[in-house]
Structures are given as structure tokens and as C-alpha cells.
């Protein structure tokens, strides 16, 4: 009995120290961003500042353009997410519920592209987009992301559990094929759609390599690009850098905390990594 209690206590000590390790870097980021300048690089470090300031936020959002980067990231992520939800579900629906020639061949061909690493396509895609004059515009990020093979695959799986009778009933009622999809089928896939939405949004919000390749002018930057530039330019002013980091991290954490059940279900449903 005593042994079990001791083991129980050890278990909680490990879990709590692990939890602190997970949370502390965020605390340190936020606290660094609101410390007064003389305490930012003080030795020994100030863990609990008595005086705080929000001055840097105004400067970083306005003068240093983080407001703009935030808006760029937000509208790219929202546009791509909306588009991926629509294209994945309608294409998944067509592949699952309709018979047509070469259906399986086309589907397999699509799936096979998932095996190819992004490193293979990024150079030719850059050159092709350059030829049509789209490099250094947000379209270079948005256009290639409008369709997702993974999303189509996921939505097709989900459509499997929807009985064909729904579609037949819609046809008997004289609804158009699109109306059947939009009004009868789509609402039944909400659980998967929300998981797909979260991961598409997160993937775009955090995406770094592709924007790094195609975006060159600063007013087109997304948050990760802005943060990376910040790190290089203001390495001696950690207060500013951490303010930029906080602005790019905290919104998505709030979204996560407010809908974490959907999130965790999404991870296990899709098995998808960031």
C-alpha cells in the first residue's frame, strides 16, 4: 500500500515536471516580451517581473509590420482552408458515390503523388510559377494549396459511411446533383470537415519553406517569414523578438484551447502531422 502511494507520487512528479517543461518556454516568451528593457537580459534572470510594459507590441505590430504579416498569414490560411474543404469534399464525394471510367486509375494516380517529397516539386513549381509571373505574390502560396490529395482521400473515406439512399431520395425529390451534395451530404461530414479544417489551417499558418522560396518582398511576408527576419535583425533585442513570437504563437494556441476536443479527435482521425 505504501509502495503504491510512493509510486503514485513519483508518477505525478514526473507528469508535472513534464508539463512545466511544456508550458515554461511559452511563459518565458510572453514574460520576455513584456519586461522592462533593463530586465530582459539581466543576470540572474528575472522570473517574475514586478513592472511590465506593453510598449513593444505597438511598435512590432505597427512600425515593424507584424500587423501586416499577421493579416497576410490569416487571409492566406483562411482562403486555403475554405478551398480545401470544398474541393476535398466534392471530389471525395464524386469518387465515392459515382461510377465512371478510369475511376480507380485516376484515384491511385492521385494517391501516388503523396509519396513524392515536397523537395522534388518545389524547384519546378517555382520555375513554372515564375513563367506565369506569379512569384512573389500570395497566389504562389494559395494556388498550389487549393487541392489536397490527402483531403480528398480523407473525405472519400468519410463518404463511405453515408448511405446511397440519401442521394436517391434527393434525386426523387428533383434536387440538382450539386444541391444533393451541398444540402444533404456535406452536413453529415461535419466531424471530418472540422478536423480537416484545423489541420489545413494550422499547416498554412505555420508553413515556412514554400513561402521562403516564393516570397521576397517584405510587405508580402507571412508570420513565420517575418519572425525569421526578426530573429536575424533584432537578435540583440530579445524583447522585440519575443513580442513577434508571441503574436504569431498565441492566437493559434487560443484557437486550440477553445476547441481542443475537435483537435485531438482530428489528430487520431487523420493521423496527420502538422
Amino acid at each position: 500500500m505504501l509502495k503504491r502511494r510512493i509510486l503514485g507520487i513519483i508518477k505525478w512528479i514526473i507528469l508535472i515536471s513534464g508539463g512545466i517543461t511544456m508550458v515554461f518556454p511559452f511563459y518565458w516568451m510572453i514574460i520576455t516580451s513584456i519586461k522592462i528593457q533593463s530586465e530582459v537580459m539581466k543576470i540572474p534572470p528575472v522570473l517574475f517581473p514586478t513592472r511590465i510594459t506593453f510598449e513593444r507590441y505597438g511598435r512590432v505590430i505597427g512600425e515593424l509590420q507584424f500587423g501586416r504579416f499577421f493579416f497576410n498569414s490569416l487571409y492566406i490560411a483562411v482562403t486555403v482552408t475554405m478551398a480545401v474543404l470544398f474541393t476535398s469534399s466534392i471530389v471525395g464525394y464524386v469518387f465515392e458515390k459515382f461510377q465512371f471510367k478510369y475511376r480507380n486509375t485516376i484515384f491511385l494516380a492521385l494517391l501516388s503523388t503523396m509519396m513524392v517529397p515536397g523537395a522534388v516539386t518545389m524547384i519546378p513549381l517555382y520555375l513554372l510559377l515564375g513563367k506565369v509571373g506569379l512569384v512573389n505574390s500570395h497566389l504562389a502560396i494559395i494556388l498550389p494549396a487549393l487541392g489536397s490529395v490527402f483531403g480528398i482521400f480523407l473525405m472519400r473515406q468519410t463518404m463511405q459511411s453515408i448511405p446511397n439512399e440519401f442521394i436517391e431520395a434527393g434525386r426523387i425529390d428533383g434536387a440538382s446533383e450539386f444541391a444533393i451534395f451541398w444540402k444533404l451530404i456535406l452536413p453529415q461530414t461535419k466531424a471530418t470537415l472540422s478536423a480537416l479544417a484545423i489541420f489545413t489551417f494550422m499547416g498554412q499558418w505555420n508553413s515556412f519553406l514554400w513561402p521562403l522560396i516564393v516570397i521576397s518582398s517584405q510587405d508580402q511576408y507571412t508570420l513565420p517569414l517575418g519572425l525569421r527576419m526578426f530573429q536575424g535583425q533584432y537578435w540583440s533585442d530579445m524583447g522585440l523578438v519575443m513580442t513577434g513570437a508571441t503574436i504569431s504563437v498565441i492566437p493559434i494556441l487560443i484557437v486550440f484551447l477553445s476547441m481542443q476536443k475537435t483537435f485531438v479527435r482530428g489528430v487520431t482521425l487523420t493521423g496527420l502531422k502538422g
Binding site: G244, I252, F256, V264, V267
Partner: protein, 295 residues
């Protein structure tokens, strides 16, 4: 009358299918298939932005052999992939077991451990860069507290890669924990109850019941872990150590393609990466599908 109606209905269906399918096929042809074929074409050429491409045959592929930068970047990438998969996986498994065994607070713990997963890798690099900062960073103060010597962390070629891997493990562990937890929920209580009747210890239960039954989860994490691990870019690029000590394969490829405009050479590298990933995946499939456990 009904005949006509049926025919018309069929047409509406076909129109719908075509209206969806044609743009889909065009999209993926343009954004996936054409680039893959084009990349293959580029890999046989010397190519930059200014001059027209010149055919060089297998030259770009031959140059992969004996390319010391490439070897060192492959080494960095392999170390990254192996350590994040195995050390990260082991830690995540332990934490998942602990979280799974608590009666209260499991949901809160899961949330807390998942927070870094949501964070962009650039932000992770920036935050940990600050913690690792040799002079004013917090980690060296923590070491001092325990009477340990200061470290250079990301600023020394000896410790940079390990430091970057530690930060990446911190970031990715929550994801692995959630996958393990989902697997653990799928194991029926009755197995454990039967083992308890037989007087099995906790460790024995983990070894003889949990691990064999979680096999599909391990396989999944192993394969996807290596696929993503070998394509690592963001973390190593943002937490870069001196003397290319953290320069991974994709970063070298990126630098050659977009800083030195060696598009052909970089494309040959991309196909090498593709081949490595496919080979590793096939080997892993072979190894893990040999034996299956059933109870």
C-alpha cells in the same frame, strides 16, 4: 415518358461528375504531375535563371557521389530522424502510459503536452534560441543552479545538433503522445484484468500486453516519423549551428537551388531523397509485417 426522364437524369449525373473531375485532373496535372516530370528533366540539365538549360546527361547524379557537403548533410538528417523517432518515441510512450494511468486530469495533461505541437517550428526555433542563448539564456542559469558548467548549446558545432534535436523533440512529443493514447484506449481492459489475476507486475503488463498490442501504432509512428524526419527543414534552418553542424539535406538542396541557382544539381538531390525515403519505407514494411501478434 419515363425512359426520357431516366436519360435526362443520367446526363445531369454525368455533367456533375465531369464538372468536378475535369478541373480536379487539370489541377493535379499542373501542380503535381507536370512538376514531377519537369523536375526529372531539370535533373539532367545544367540550369539557372539566366542561361538556357544545357543537357548534361547523368552528370548531376554522378556528382552526388563524393560530394562531402551532401554526405555531411545526410548524416545530420539521419541523426535527426533516428533520434527524434526513437528517443522522442520512447519518451512519448512513457508519458502516454503515465497519462493513461491517472484517474483525474488526463485531459488537462494531454492538452498541456499538445501545446507545442500547435506552435510553428520557426517560433519554436526562436523561443529555444533565446533559452539556449549562451550568455543571457535561461538554460545556462539553470545549469549554474545545479553547479553544472555552462554550455554553448546552438553556438558550438559539438552541441548544436543535439540542442536542435532536443527542442524539436519538445515540439513534437505531444503529437506522438496523442497517437499512443488513442492506441492505448483501444486495448480492452480484460487483458489487464486477466494478467492481474495471474499476478503480473505493472512492467510485465506493459511488456507482454501493451507493447505487442500497440504494434500497429508503433509501425505507423516509425514509418511516418522517418518520412517526415528525412524531410526536416524548418527547425534545423532556424536553429542553425556554426560550421554547417545542423545543415540538413533539404537545407543544402534549398541553398543550392535558390542561393547558388544550381537547379539541376538540386533536383538530382531531390530524387536521391525520394529514393532514400521509398527505400526506408519499404525496408520498414518488410521488417514489421513479418510477424503479427494476435490474442
Amino acid at each position: 415518358m419515363s425512359q426520357v426522364g431516366k436519360k435526362k437524369r443520367l446526363d445531369a449525373k454525368q455533367r456533375f461528375v465531369l464538372a468536378v473531375l475535369i478541373p480536379t485532373v487539370l489541377f493535379f496535372v499542373f501542380f503535381n504531375f507536370v512538376p514531377i516530370i519537369y523536375a526529372f528533366y531539370i535533373s539532367f540539365h545544367e540550369m539557372d535563371f539566366l542561361n538556357p538549360p544545357t543537357f548534361v546527361g547523368l552528370e548531376n547524379y554522378k556528382r552526388l557521389i563524393g560530394d562531402t557537403h551532401l554526405y555531411s548533410s545526410l548524416r545530420v538528417t539521419a541523426i535527426f530522424a533516428v533520434t527524434t523517432v526513437f528517443i522522442g518515441g520512447f519518451l512519448a510512450f512513457c508519458f502516454a502510459l503515465l497519462i493513461n494511468s491517472v484517474k483525474r486530469g488526463a485531459a488537462v495533461l494531454r492538452t498541456v503536452y499538445f501545446l507545442p505541437v500547435m506552435t510553428s517550428l520557426v517560433a519554436v526555433g526562436v523561443i529555444w534560441g533565446w533559452l539556449y542563448q549562451p550568455r543571457f539564456g535561461l538554460l545556462n542559469e539553470v545549469l549554474k543552479l545545479f553547479g553544472l558548467p555552462r554550455q554553448m548549446w546552438l553556438s558550438s558545432p559539438k552541441t548544436a545538433l543535439a540542442s536542435a534535436i532536443a527542442a524539436s523533440t519538445w515540439q513534437g512529443m505531444g503529437y506522438t503522445i496523442v497517437i499512443f493514447l488513442a492506441g492505448l484506449h483501444g486495448i480492452s481492459r480484460t487483458y489487464y484484468e486477466a494478467a492481474e489475476v495471474d499476478g503480473a507486475s505493472s512492467l510485465q503488463k506493459v511488456w507482454y500486453i501493451t507493447i505487442p498490442l500497440l504494434r500497429p501504432t508503433f509501425v505507423y509512428l516509425l514509418i511516418t516519423g522517418f518520412i517526415t524526419g528525412f524531410q526536416v527543414f524548418d527547425q534545423l534552418y532556424v536553429m542553425s549551428g556554426p560550421l554547417n553542424s545542423t545543415r540538413g539535406f533539404v537545407e543544402l538542396l534549398y541553398t543550392r537551388a535558390f542561393s547558388y541557382y544550381q537547379m539541376g544539381r538540386a533536383s538530382a538531390m531531390a530524387f536521391l531523397l525520394f529514393a532514400i525515403i521509398v527505400t526506408l519505407t519499404l525496408i520498414q514494411f518488410r521488417l514489421v509485417t513479418r510477424q503479427q501478434v494476435e490474442y
